[in-house]
Symmetry: C2
Subunit: 361 residues, 2 copies
């Protein structure tokens, strides 16, 4: 029976297959994590859009259904200082869409909210003892990180450059996710400020991160089938993190317009955009991105930009329109195949092993 | 003895190793092509910066030294209509640099020139009979292409998206270079106009192009060592095209500031820039790119933008400064190792074969 060329991540996390289900805030609740974990991969629960109670409830549902490691994922950005003038300019820019959809441009809109890792989330980690805790946008403050480490959780985070990988390794991460330019959703970038012109593709990033750090590297970005898994191992990765391919699964709570876009030729064109949250994230190009340009200097700071878009989404999504909502997807979306997440996990692993042993050529 | 998992490119071009030396206009004359061809790879001679006489001379030098296939590479852009107002605005923007370097901002500057494939180049191909002709920026007009085809040359071109790959396949290309976002030098983009926001990384591009076309696919972008070659084959490629790694070889006529940047930490940061020619190309971030932003809407159309920079380069390069010259490099530049090009070619192939057979793990 063929074996994986590098088993460090299997041993580190106590999992059977070197496939991490990427945390995807929104469509990804316990159902997806359970299915992947039952198949032998690492299931993840993204917490940035959840409150503390929901995290406890979702973890309980996971623990009831499977005895396997779980990854809890948190954002660790700085909460922004509200800037009323910038908010007003952003609202004014979006006003024609409000009018088009029959909305009052002056109507109240919610604050765009994605909660960073804080004392309350830290207590949840201390109570629930997830086997793995992953962070996005760097790491939390040292005192908070020490509390997480004291629980015995393995700590991982995403690097989008070699410099970020070194930074994370110096702060004791147990493994590092090399998040290539191809990846869907938010770029984990945290050292470069707003400059994303030097962001690196998976093919170039993975081997350079492998050379730069001692800990095992998890490849992410553009991996959606067995070819990608085999290629990631060839580049020196010890595991892969797969996101977009899992959005095709019935266990993903993907809104209908998003699911339709994923399954269409539209998914060939993705771009990095800051329109939906204020930070660059990769999604399928839609009307808002086309008309405003995917990157706007006027978008309020993360995560505030999304607030003014919420009424537009609420008015258009029920009509089947994806014009004003984020359609997060990576550049390999067209390789996705709709099937249950457990079956997908097992198939990806079996096909990758066959490919790597030469029998899958 | 291990064999390559896909030998279609070896058979198509009549070469021993599935490694194409990327044509790199400027540093790449016959010396580099000879060394790679002697080692069993495909040597390339880029013609965009050469006149017809020099092409004849360089090909003669190649033929004298090695009996092996040769790739002649041509650009096939439309020559731009000069726009004096835009040129003047560009000169005005650069004027402070002229003053800083002690130059008269009104001094004459050469026209930025990169010649497209035309009747004269076509006659050279008909006379010299290169075994392979590669194009960048699409394909020449059908009548010209028919002349090339009639010589018996294998015809290849670069695709930066799946749509471009389909377009090239429909027009009869014998193989397609999938040029990922990581690649150094000019993006081959030709269907997307000026929009490079949806450009695709090698990891996502290669398998999707493999799925979309029948002809063999050559992976390019971010490949600089054996890991990259093994990964490219895992993704379904039948060969690789390697550029930046060959810039480290003594056979490359790389200007001193460029060579110094390639060998330094500076090479970790590359970006797509249109400042040097008017079309997006990847290079190491230098002073001009930092101060002007790597992409400028004011840069004159390709290839005119470079004209106004020529005096700045002429005044600064002799002092060892790379501030005003293109420092083309891909995102894997830091993986480069200085050694003769023949030795590099043989080592890359041997290490990749070992890796793919499992013995190189």
């Amino acid at each position: 029976m063929p074996s994986w060329p590098d088993e460090r991540i299997l041993e580190l996390f106590g999992i059977a297959l070197p496939i991490l289900q990427a945390p995807m805030a929104g469509p990804n609740l316990h159902e997806l994590a359970v299915a992947v974990a039952q198949a032998g991969g690492l299931g993840s629960l993204p917490c940035a859009l959840l409150n503390v109670e929901t995290v406890r409830e979702q973890v309980a549902l996971f623990r009831q259904q499977v005895s396997a490691p779980l990854n809890l994922n948190f954002f660790c950005h700085q909460s922004p200082v509200p800037d009323p003038a910038r908010e007003a300019a952003w609202r004014a820019r979006l006003a024609p869409y409000y009018v088009e959809l029959g909305l009052d441009p002056a109507m109240p809109a919610p604050a765009g909210t994605r909660a960073p890792f804080d004392d309350a989330f830290c207590r949840v980690v201390e109570d629930l003892r997830p086997e793995v805790v992953s962070f996005h946008f760097g790491l939390p403050a040292p005192a908070l990180l020490a509390h997480v480490r004291a629980t015995g959780a393995k700590i991982i985070s995403s690097a989008t450059t070699v410099a970020e990988a070194r930074w994370l390794a110096e702060r004791g991460c147990d493994a590092i996710i090399a998040q290539g330019f191809e990846a869907g959703g938010h770029r984990g970038v945290f050292l470069q400020g707003e400059d994303i012109s030097t962001q690196v593709g998976t093919f170039a990033l993975v081997p350079q991160v492998v050379d730069a750090v001692e800990v095992p590297v998890i490849a992410a970005g553009g991996i959606a089938d067995a070819r990608g898994i085999a290629a990631a191992f060839a580049l020196g990765a010890a595991a892969v993190q797969i996101g977009t391919a899992y959005l095709f699964c019935p266990e993903s709570r993907v809104p209908a317009p998003h699911r339709a876009a994923l399954g269409s030729l539209q998914a060939e064109d993705t771009a990095l955009t800051n329109l939906f949250t204020g930070r660059p994230a990769r999604g399928i190009v839609n009307r808002l991105m086309r008309e405003q340009g995917p990157l706007s200097a006027q978008a309020p700071a993360f995560p505030l930009a999304g607030g003014a878009l919420a009424p537009l989404r609420a008015a258009s999504e029920p009509r089947g329109s994806g014009d004003f909502m984020s359609l997060w997807a990576g550049q390999a979306a067209r390789l996705g195949r709709p099937m249950p997440a457990g079956e997908l996990t097992r198939r990806l692993a079996a096909e990758a092993l066959a490919r790597m042993s030469g029998s899958g050529r």
